[in-house]
Amino acid sequence: MKLKSFKRGIHPKGNKQFTCDKSILEFISNENAVYPLSQHIGAPCEPVVAVGDEVKKGQLIAKATSFVSCNIFSAVSGKVIDIKPVATTSGETAQSIIIENDGKFEEIENFGKKEDYSKFDREKILEKIQYAGIVGLGGAGFPTHVKLSPKEPEKIDYLIINAAECEPYLTSDYRLMLEKGEKLVEGIKILLKLFDNAKCVIGIENNKTDAYKHLKSIIDDEKIECQLLKAKYPQGGERMLIKAITGREINSKMLPADAGCVVVNVATTIACFDAVANNIPLIRRVVTITGDAIKEPCNLLVNIGSSHKELLEVAGGFLTQPEKMVSGGPMMGTALFEIDLPVTKTSSSILAFQKDEVAKIPTSACIHCGRCLGACPEKLVPQLMMAASDNSQFDEFEKLHGMECIECGSCTYVCPAKRPLTQSFKYAKREVIKKRKKGEKK
């Protein structure tokens, strides 16, 4: 079969060997659980419990405040002991609900009750997914029910399952495909009910052929197919994936629905299945703990709200003191400054590196080699954009279509002068948005 892909992009070393053969281990923490109120893109939630309240496993503790927002559920039973700002992986503090874990994991009524979902109609499925607080588990954290409710659902002809997992080191989706393939396929069938004219394509990079073969062997629906994609970063970028699979291109101002597509990640699809078929809200996720500084790299199924510290202990701790730790993939993740941070819905991995190849790297003058241009999946000209950004010429930055930048880091990765291009673009984009907001006020 011909490998599909998008143009440009980069080929970083996969480094998935640490954890790709490690089965998903379940880890249940007995420590207190911490739930930041903003674990998704959109408005933060509002707590529906107060300090001193008793909560059960699977109980709603914070509810969405608008359509683009997401409910949060407790994964433990116990008492709410505090609601206060807590440091999160992003480096900022966020208002969080802290629950003292009584270790009993008493469940709420109907938790895990199997449903006959074959009779559910579109509204019922969407309602269940929305209630379960499901967000894109790949890392962006966009509320899934919003994605699944395009204006004209009959115009959607592709349901794309994002199984690219293009970030190096991450293996959680790969393991899920191998171990929970049946659940994934059932989840897809549920999602397909939302779109009458859609067929489903599961996009898998060709460095995960095991998962591809496994899924192919268990798929029993002619509306679902698997597509091998070239292993290339950022293949899992939503718009890159749409381009690779359908050949359609959309820009940052459009939605996937404009190209007749809805893109959902593997773990998210499985979460949707659990929400609809088993009445289990999003309270757990798979986190890959890996890197050359970790003693026993592994894929852990953990409760959202557990501490990174515990996860690292389960992984055997450190071989040596790591020089850098990252939450998320090495291309787009954020560097950690401490480890006592709560796992959120979007925590896909914890990486610990013995050597940090980036922070102290000397940057030199731009030699105008154009490698950044050859790497940019958005067909931008990072070299000119950085010149504009560094000189605070934000109008020029916009004119160069700088706002199309998806901050994937490809340009920075290839730069031989090791210039911090992505950093510069993040700054410039914020400045432009600030300026636009000012303009609106006037």
């Binding site: 102290k360 199309e404 990765y413």
Partner: protein, 323 residues
């Protein structure tokens, strides 16, 4: 426990390619034509090469020390400039010519404009043009007499292939392909140049667009102009146009200079076509023999403008993509 942890903005991994190892690759590629030059012209060529390199690296060092700037000679860009300058030198020149060339290339063209990445034209070519204009007789003397290095310059010149072609003599292109024709150190052997070029292409140092389009368009334009002029075009004539002069070395090693050539794909094509047109015009119409050098320098100066007008449409903005 976590006091010494590094925090930086993503991405947290980087490619192995550095400015230094790209420059090293260029040096390795340049080694082939320079070796051919030393083989053809002997010790005098070697001394000229060494003088070029020492003066370029030396002037960069002196300038940066003098201006209390960070010394960056370890990025090897000055070494590359020195080697390209040597490629553009006749084998036997008085010692002060390479030194002056190094000074002009590094201090005037490169450092005064802000150092690496800021020069508006190829430093080595800038220096060559400066020398050709200022010391025309020396720069076109292709004597191989080593004593010439320290003697007073005289005015005896031997004709280069390009000059001979202009005066109606078609030299044997097969000789040029392999070895020895009067010319600069780096122009001696087309095969050596192509080996170096192949190395750079395999190592992905250069994009083939610029050299290929440049060479092909030059030949096409030359043929066209000659036809308009009513001259007959023979295979031998075209081969001399290809192998003679600085076309090969210029297209692979100088027109592709990162700093002074466009980075956009369309820009590269336009730039190469401009170079081809200029070179063919100078070779056929102008009395000057500096076709390649002048074209590349003019192209260099047009680069920012070309880039400005060739910024590609970003992903998803193509007409008729969706909606």
């Amino acid at each position: 426990m976590f006091r010494n942890i590094n925090v930086s903005v993503s991405p947290h991994i980087r490619d192995k390619r550095t400015t230094q190892n790209i420059m090293l690759d260029v040096c390795i590629a340049l080694f082939f034509p320079l070796l051919a030059g030393v083989y053809a012209y002997g010790l005098s060529a070697l001394i000229t090469i060494v003088l070029c390199v020492i003066s370029c690296v030396g002037f960069e060092l002196l300038f940066q020390l003098g201006m209390k700037k960070k010394v960056t000679i370890s990025d090897l860009s000055a070494l590359v400039t020195g080697m390209i300058l040597a490629v553009n030198m006749p084998a036997s020149v008085p010692w002060f010519i390479p030194v002056l060339g190094g000074f002009f290339a590094i201090i005037i063209v490169k450092q005064l404009f802000g150092g690496l990445g800021q020069n508006f034209m190829n430093p080595a070519l800038g220096a060559r043009c400066f020398l050709v204009i200022s010391f025309a007789s020396i720069m076109t003397n292709f004597s191989t007499d080593i004593n010439y290095l320290f003697s007073k310059p005289d005015v005896v010149t031997s004709a280069t292939p390009m000059a001979m072609v202009k005066s109606g003599v078609v030299t044997n292109w097969f000789d040029m392909l392999v070895n020895t024709h009067a010319g600069c150190i780096g122009e001696v052997s087309a095969i050596a140049i192509l080996i170096g070029a192949a190395y750079m292409i395999i190592r992905r140092v250069i994009d083939v667009k610029i050299p290929f389009i440049y060479i092909i368009s030059t030949l096409c334009f030359v043929a066209l102009i000659q036809t308009i002029k009513g001259e007959t075009i023979t295979f031998d004539y075209m081969m001399v146009q290809l192998c003679g002069g600085g076309l090969l070395i210029g297209s692979f090693f100088m027109a592709t200079d990162y700093v002074t050539s466009p980075i956009t794909n369309k820009g590269k094509v336009i730039y190469a076509l401009i170079l081809g047109l200029m070179t063919s015009l100078i070779r056929t119409v102008s009395p000057s023999n500096e076709g390649v050098s002048y074209s590349i320098i003019i192209g260099n100066m047009l680069t920012p403008l070309i880039e400005k007008f060739t910024v590609p449409k970003p992903f998803g903005y193509k007409k008729g993509a969706v909606k």
